[in-house]
């Protein structure tokens, strides 16, 4: 039972980061109709930028954290303007390949600047674990779950109440109608990429604090696919639920199945689930079915 709870907790922690990354992913898909294969690299860049500030420039963690958010927003703007804007109206495959190309370029920058070696964040969160009944949780876990919840909550409020958020939802719903209501679709697209980069960057900072930082953090982006498909590609609550479910599922298979079948099961089970969902319920738990007309 203790083992189960322990797995549950670590699953929820990883799942909350999945949810954050998935949020950005869903946002881009909803607003611009683009599937972003570079989401994992956004996360990696966030982790490295913050690490560079903390470890190389010796900026206090929280200031570095805020600065990282600023940097990621700016990077999001640049990427949207240079790479994504010319692609409006191109076929899906071109846009998928463009984001894949983008991920290669980002990986290249990180490798050239920081090299391929593993890096570790300097100790910032206290190492003293917290005991919750039988379960032991390290403090960084609590912080990352807390921040994930904070950001998810903030963005939910943002979409519900702020005028920019409402504009984004309008564009996601019907671009032409939004345009004729005087909403700048370009601005909304730019905002979607900024927010996506921002939340992925935040996820990266916490993931970097939990694990080591290296280029393979980028694979995290591919693992978000099962989460968003499970939740429904265009649903923000879906991203949160899907992220948590996939995180827990991964931890459980890692804990129970890996010792029996051998390593790597943890990585593949979410994708098996993904295929099953696509077969049974392609629009996920909360997604809107597409109605196609000739």
């Amino acid at each position: 039972m203790d083992f189960f709870l322990q797995l549950l907790v670590s699953g929820v922690v990883v799942g909350s980061i999945y949810a954050l990354v998935a949020l950005g992913f869903v946002l881009i898909y909803k607003a611009t109709g683009v599937i972003n294969f570079a989401q994992g690299e956004f996360l990696m860049v966030g982790a490295y930028v913050c690490l560079a500030m903390v470890a190389q420039l010796h900026i206090p963690f929280w200031i570095a954290f805020v600065l990282t958010m600023v940097v990621t927003v700016v990077l999001g703007l640049i990427i949207e303007r240079l790479a994504l804007r010319p692609m409006i109206g191109e076929p899906i495959i071109s846009i998928i390949m463009l984001t894949i190309g983008l991920s290669s370029v980002l990986k290249c920058f990180v490798l050239v600047i920081w090299g391929p070696n593993n890096r570790v964040y300097p100790q910032f969160f206290s190492q003293v674990p917290i005991h919750l009944g039988p379960v032991v949780i390290s403090q960084v876990y609590i912080w990352s779950v807390g921040f994930a919840i904070l950001f998810l909550g903030l963005f939910t409020l943002f979409f519900r109440y702020s005028s920019s958020g409402i504009a984004m939802r309008a564009v996601a719903d019907d671009q032409q109608a939004a345009l004729s209501m005087g909403i700048s679709v370009k601005k909304v697209f730019a905002m979607a990429w900024c927010i996506a980069f921002l939340v992925a960057g935040v996820g990266g900072v916490f993931l970097g604090n939990i694990n080591v930082v290296n280029v393979s953090l980028g694979f995290f982006g591919l693992k978000v696919f099962p989460a968003v498909i499970l939740g429904g590609l265009d649903s923000i609550p879906g991203a949160i639920v899907g992220g948590l479910l996939i995180g827990v599922l991964e931890a459980m298979t890692g804990g129970y199945l890996d010792p029996i079948i051998g390593g790597g099961t943890k990585e593949v089970v979410p994708f098996v689930v993904l295929v099953i969902i696509l077969m049974v319920k392609p629009y996920g738990l909360f997604g809107t079915p597409e109605i196609e007309k000739v």
Partner: protein, 350 residues
């Protein structure tokens, strides 16, 4: 009567579908093939190795272009299908002792079967969803390659012999060049012809507007599966040739990166174009080799360039994809058409 025909004066569909539109295209093609037969004797082993890799890439890219370029079904699992072909061929030859020239088509057929299984979701899934489903297929097949150890020997890798046909062993780069060249030419002819048949037209109809295609009597399920089968068949053949050429295969050779590389080939070459697949394959195989050569020459002045070579390769790869997508979305095949059209009317291009 020396008027030069500069437009297309075709009065029947049959005329329009002819493989060789003019005498010159046939002439140059035959000249090129003769050149291909002679030139390898003057090349050193490294250049031959690159040529062989290009040949294998052409076969794989043709397959992916039929599926993605002509039928419009995005596949992110082509690398894994290559792997299935490689392992199937290796298993048939090494463990079951079947001769290579039977094992290679069998490997293609086995891969085609796998391709059809993973193509089944394509009936319900379109575009993005299908891309993600094939991504899942890629990871699941990769997992199987590591874990079905009796067949694949897991992460340790499987040793494969050079192929031999009737006691003749293809054990040098030169001999292998002719084997790969023959298969690549056959694959090109096959693809070129399949595009001209009813199936090929059905593929294109599905890509352009699948609901209209269905209304016009195209059986979506049948033709989508056929496209998956044909595409994975060629992937399997390419995988088989690759396995017997490099003689040791591990699951690391067939990762998502390979799938992406093949997608890049058809995008850079030109989607929905046979010659585009060839251009793309040549380009994508030459690119890392050229970069390696460059970094070799530059390493004298900048010693650190060797350390970041992998990173630069990755970055240039991404950058080229982006540049092509933004500035030349129809690929090199389109540019080739433009050049040909220019010379057709030269010097009176207006």
């Amino acid at each position: 009567m020396s008027a030069h025909i500069c437009g297309d004066y075709k009065t029947s569909y049959k005329e329009d579908m002819v493989l060789f539109q003019t005498f010159f295209s046939k002439f140059w093609l035959i000249a090129f093939l003769i050149f291909l037969c002679i030139i390898p004797h003057f090349l050193d082993n490294y250049v031959l190795y690159v040529c062989n890799m290009i040949g294998i890439a052409i076969i794989g890219a043709l397959g992916l272009n039929i599926l993605t370029g002509f039928t419009g079904q995005i596949s992110l699992g082509h690398g894994a299908f290559l792997g299935i072909g490689a392992y199937a061929s290796a298993y048939l030859v090494m463990d079951l002792g079947i001769p290579f020239f039977i094992a290679m088509p069998c490997a293609g057929l086995i891969t085609a079967m796998f391709g059809m299984v993973f193509g089944i979701p394509s009936l319900r899934l379109k575009g993005l969803y299908l891309a993600i489903a094939t991504l899942a297929a890629q990871f699941i097949i990769e997992y199987l390659m590591v874990h079905v150890e009796p067949v694949t020997n897991g992460v340790l890798g499987k040793m494969v012999d050079f192929p031999s046909i009737m006691g003749f062993t293809f054990d040098t780069d030169l001999k292998y060049f002719y084997l790969i060249g023959t298969v690549a030419i056959l694959a090109t002819i096959m693809s070129k012809n399949i595009v001209r048949t009813r199936s090929g037209r059905a593929f294109i109809a599905i890509r352009d507007q699948y609901i209209s295609a269905e209304v016009m009597g195209v059986n979506l399920f049948k033709y989508k599966l056929l496209a998956f089968a044909f595409s994975s068949f060629l992937a399997g053949i390419a995988g088989s040739l690759w396995a017997h050429y490099v003689t040791i295969i591990t699951p690391e050779h067939f990762t998502i990166g390979v799938s992406i590389e093949y997608l890049a080939m058809i995008i850079i070459g030109g989607m929905g174009s046979i010659i585009g697949s060839i251009f793309g394959a040549v380009f994508m195989v030459l690119l890392p080799e050229v970069l390696r050569g460059l970094s070799g020459t530059l390493s004298g002045e900048f010693p650190m360039i060797v350390n970041i070579f992998a990173a630069i390769k990755e970055g240039v790869f991404g950058l080229i994809i982006i540049i092509f997508l933004v500035y030349e979305p129809d690929g090199m095949a389109h540019r080739w058409q433009m050049i040909k059209a220019y010379w057709k009317l030269w010097p009176f291009s207006y």
